[in-house]
Amino acid sequence: MTSEDPVRPVPGAAPGQSLHAAPSRHTAPSRHTAGAPTGRPTAPDPDRTPDPDRTSAPDRTSAPDPAPLPDALACRGLRYTFGETRAVDGVDLSVRPGEVFGLLGPNGAGKTTAIRCITTLLPVPTGMVRVFGHDAARERMAVRRLLGYVPQQLSADAGLTGRENVALFARVFDIPRRERAARVGQALEAVGLTDAANRLASTYSGGMIRRLELAQALVSAPRLLMLDEPTIGLDPIARTTVWEHINVVRAATGMTVLVTTHYMDEAEQYCDRVALMHRGRIRALGTPAELRSDLRARRAQAARTTTTTPSAPRTSASSDVEPTLEDVFRDVAGTGLDEQSGDFRDVRSTRRTATRVG
């Protein structure tokens, strides 16, 4: 944490909230959507059945106009295999324009692979992925122009200043010279890096690099922001700051955000809807509140409670306690989020080895 990281709270963020502990139990709909001009919902789903595997999601906002826009993102039977590993194994997703959608799952669940398929980094067959109606296989350039992408890794160019890092992306997105400086300035301002803009990125803290990457993604005015574990490895204040900037930008621009995380508390706090992913599949989907209340209903109905695993003693699962998203995950995946989560470097090194062998 350097002093350059401004400490600004997020509405609804509980101070002193721990990184891995159970998320706070505040109710869902009070979050950042309040200021968002474009929380355009699609038609609500009237009769929702508490299906344990797939929970459909009615929209909780009350804005009246169901927009005729295509989904910001539609995945149909998305699959990707690395040799024997079925990293993504039949994912169906619809992300609505203007929402913050969380793809939640432990390391190795296939989140990054799914993101890389959507961003055209990995080849997918026609018809599997559509971004605002554009097919990721046939209209790569059109899809890329709609996307702002922040990969899991911290990936700013350390040999350039913050401003130069952002200007590069302005150039490759064809922003004309006369607009470039102003746009780059706005992108940097949006993430609170104006003062540090002329310093080399090698002097930035982790949280600042993340925000710089956010500025790089924002400068081209994307309509779908793809953030792969944007807060991984950051300290709590930097995490909060990153999320705060995401929310401000979303509120100001109405961008759709697809974010992956393995932090349940973040998903609970900042996402309109979440999909719980495990071993390449979506195990549950809905607003955090729905997922929790569905689990409560299931527990009450079946009197079947999830058993407490020794590694997570806080999950004192009983049907009268409000369940957390973590409990929901445990229920639908049969395992906790932390159980198989190694350090992300482990995943990378396994990946390199896999590449070598394969």
């Binding site: 600004r8 709270p9 509405p11 609804g12 963020a13 101070p15 002193g16 909230q17 721990s18 990184l19 891995h20 502990a21 055209t120 980094l121 990995l122 890329r144 122009r145 996307l147 992408y149 990969p151 899991q152 890794q153 990936s155 700013a156 160019d157 040999g159 350039l160 200043t161 130069e164 590069l168 992306f169 150039r171 490759v172 997105f173 064809d174 004309p176 607009e179 746009r183 706005q186 301002e189 949006a190 993430v191 080399l200 790089q216 924002l218 400068v219 081209s220 005015a221 994307p222 309509r223 300290d235 709590p236 204040i237 909060t240 900037h245 401000v248 930008v249 100001a252 590449t355 070598r356």
Partner: protein, 287 residues
């Protein structure tokens, strides 16, 4: 990690001022199309290279040491021995274009190796999600390598001039020198990017990079005329683009007999082939 330092109370804050000044971030830029994309991406990559060099020039200087040693030690010595038939040119003059080409080639090959670093650091990944066709990205990188090599060549030319090598100062000829350096470097950077696309890991690429640079240098006319080589080496030298680059540089800088038309044709064709091969293999690096 389990406790966040005290943050201000939630719910009591205005959205930061930033929110009010994001109007430009709402308007998507008009896409460039067709032939305009390629030059725009080349410029973008070259600008990055210049910005990096502005922040840190040490590489330019440290990489000048080796060519200086070649010219001072090898050049001066062999000028005295007169062991190599150069057709009347002092050996150090004969050597200078070879050393310019060599240092440019080293830069270019190392630049290609850097693409593995950029892949591992996620920088390449992000560029691949921009509206940049792979061939345009590779061409951008190749010409950025050429630009960097050109700056290096300027340093070596200055060193050679200080050592008394008699070179032309005709601006047209110097322009030709610049083109030859850039084309040759574009080829060599694409060569190492292609190898990167095949071997995929940093360690293996480093090994191969080291292994190929010296043979490419020795199996060329950089140090001695092709005529004095054994037959098999002459064959290798004839398919080595470095030979054509050196021939062009010698002809332009010293005015010795050369085949400028053939040289530039080979260098241009090699660059195009290199860009095509590297673009085709880039997908393997993205995976």
């Amino acid at each position: 990690m389990s406790e966040a330092p005290a943050a201000p109370q939630p719910g009591s804050v205005e959205p930061p001022a930033a929110a009010r000044h994001l109007d430009l971030l709402l308007i998507p830029p008009r896409p460039r199309t067709g032939w305009r994309v390629l030059p725009a991406r080349v410029v973008a990559m070259c600008v990055v290279e210049l910005q990096k060099l502005r922040h840190d020039r040490t590489e330019l200087y440290t990489r000048a040491v080796q060519p200086a040693l070649w010219l001072v030690v090898f050049g001066e010595t062999f000028t005295r021995i007169k062991a190599i038939p150069t057709g009347g040119t002092p050996y150090i003059d004969y050597l200078a274009p070879g050393i310019i080409a060599q240092s440019a080639m080293f830069i270019a090959i190392f630049y290609g190796i850097m693409i593995i670093w950029e892949r591992d650091a996620g920088i390449l990944t992000k560029l691949l999600v921009t509206p940049t066709p792979r061939s345009a990205l590779i061409a951008g990188k190749a010409f950025a390598a050429g630009l960097k090599a050109l700056l290096q060549a300027v340093v070596v030319i200055v060193i050679a001039a200080l050592l008394g090598v008699a070179m032309t100062w005709n601006p047209l000829r110097l322009l030709g020198v610049a083109v030859a350096v850039i084309l040759g470097s574009a080829f060599f950077s694409c060569l190492s990017i292609s190898i990167a696309g095949i071997v995929l890991t940093r360690d293996r690429l480093m090994g191969i990079g080291q292994a190929i640079t010296m043979p490419l240098f020795f199996a060329s006319n950089a140090l001695y005329p092709v005529a004095v080589m054994p037959g098999w080496l002459q064959t290798v030298s004839r398919i080595n683009p470095l030979s054509y680059q050196v021939d062009a540089l010698r002809g332009l800088l010293l005015g010795t007999p050369s085949h400028l038309g053939l040289d530039f044709a080979v260098l241009a064709a090699a660059s195009v082939a290199g860009i095509a091969a590297a673009s085709a293999l880039l997908g393997r690096l993205a995976r």
